[in-house]
């Protein structure tokens, strides 16, 4: 019963944590540990800086908020693992694709790495993102609670 009621929250908790996880990995692994990209790129436009700032703040909040939502689902015995992971992959893949296409290429905030054949890195980054997004959507779709069940429940209520 709880599974139907909290179906949306399962997916959203995963999406939020997925966004946060990718942003966190990007920041710690590629920036802090490997020094592949810079804190600030000279070609960054003002709108790029605003978009980057908003996304950074949002992903920081999403990481923590997503985990609290996960704890809430556990407490209610309403966690649907497959659906949560589906949401996670949608969030992670979606953010990575947005980062790779819009922030890196369109807004030119920074590159993945400052080397000659950056196109290779871009392709790995974006194809991986698209795969995560696709698998995520399939999982979310397959774990959706059917309309009939949802209605039956609300009638009982």
């Amino acid at each position: 019963m709880n599974h139907y009621m909290y179906s949306k929250r399962n997916a959203w908790s995963g999406v939020l944590f997925g966004i946060g996880a990718v942003a966190f990995i990007d920041e710690t692994v590629f920036h802090q540990l490997l020094h592949w990209h810079h804190f600030y790129d000279k070609s960054t436009t003002n709108i790029g800086l605003v978009s980057d700032g908003l996304f950074h703040a949002f992903s920081w909040f999403a990481t923590i908020g997503g985990l609290f939502m996960y704890a809430d689902l556990r407490r209610r015995s309403a966690l649907v693992r497959a659906r949560w992971w589906g949401g996670f992959l949608v969030g992670a893949g979606g953010f990575q694709l947005y980062d790779g296409l819009i922030q890196h290429k369109l807004m030119r905030i920074h590159q993945i790495r400052y080397v000659e054949n950056v196109i290779l890195y871009d392709m790995v980054w974006n194809i991986l993102a698209a795969c995560m997004l696709l698998v995520g959507f399939i999982l979310v779709y397959r774990t959706r609670s059917s309309q009939g069940a949802g209605k039956a429940y609300s009638n009982v209520h």
């Binding site: 600030y40 800086l49 605003v50 700032g53 923590i64 908020g65 609290f68």
Partner: protein, 270 residues
Amino acid sequence: MYINSHLHHYQGTEQQHLAWIVVPQLLLALPFVIALGVYIIAAIRSNPDKPWPLNRIVYWCIGVTSAVLAITGPLASLAHTNFAAHMLSHLLLGMFAPLLMVMAAPMTLLLKTLSTPLARRLTRMLKSWPSRLLTHPIFTTCLNIGGLWLLYTTNLYSLMHEHIVLYLLIHVHIFIAGYLYTLSFLYIDPVFHRFSFVYRSIVLIISLAGHGILSKIIYVQPPSGVSLDQAKVGGMLMYYGGDMIDLVLIIILCSHWFRSTRPRMVWHPN
């Protein structure tokens, strides 16, 4: 460069030293020392049957201490010439100290300690429209983040080091704005005009973005009188230091949501 040359000429005379180091540090530290004493006395004298929580006293002590460390002693003196030291002192005064002092719930303690008529009068004040404005998350964001934008993107930063009154006002503003800002997102003390978690979360994200964007702007466009090298260190300190304090802020906000949405036991009479 500007600030350095300015420093040289006041280090020369005793009077200048008094005006620029001793007086502002004493004036700024005094209210905090009084606040520490009043809080501890109130905590001891509050209801003996139900003692005031020790962790709140600890928060208050650490909060007041970090504010005092930011405005007096070696850090405050170094902050006149070193931008990274300035930024560290601002993190302590504008973010860390307010966060801990809000967590210490001073208004709750005050309401418990005051006599009933006085407590009623205070409650009436807290319900008035000025206090509604001062605890509105959008207003406090403008006050806090907007104030920082003014300070670092105009020549206010170099003016602050020339006029002592301006220096005092800005430092008082940084603390009060930081305190009201924290208060308007975390409902630990009684807040009579409340906003939903979603509302506060959205405003918080926008304001954190404003802080992050400003730190990257400082990184490339140093405030007047600051060298590029120092601006880079200061900007990164502001960005990552801000993230660390925001982390605590977000965890507390989310844990309040977690507590408020807990499933309640429902009793079905048959």
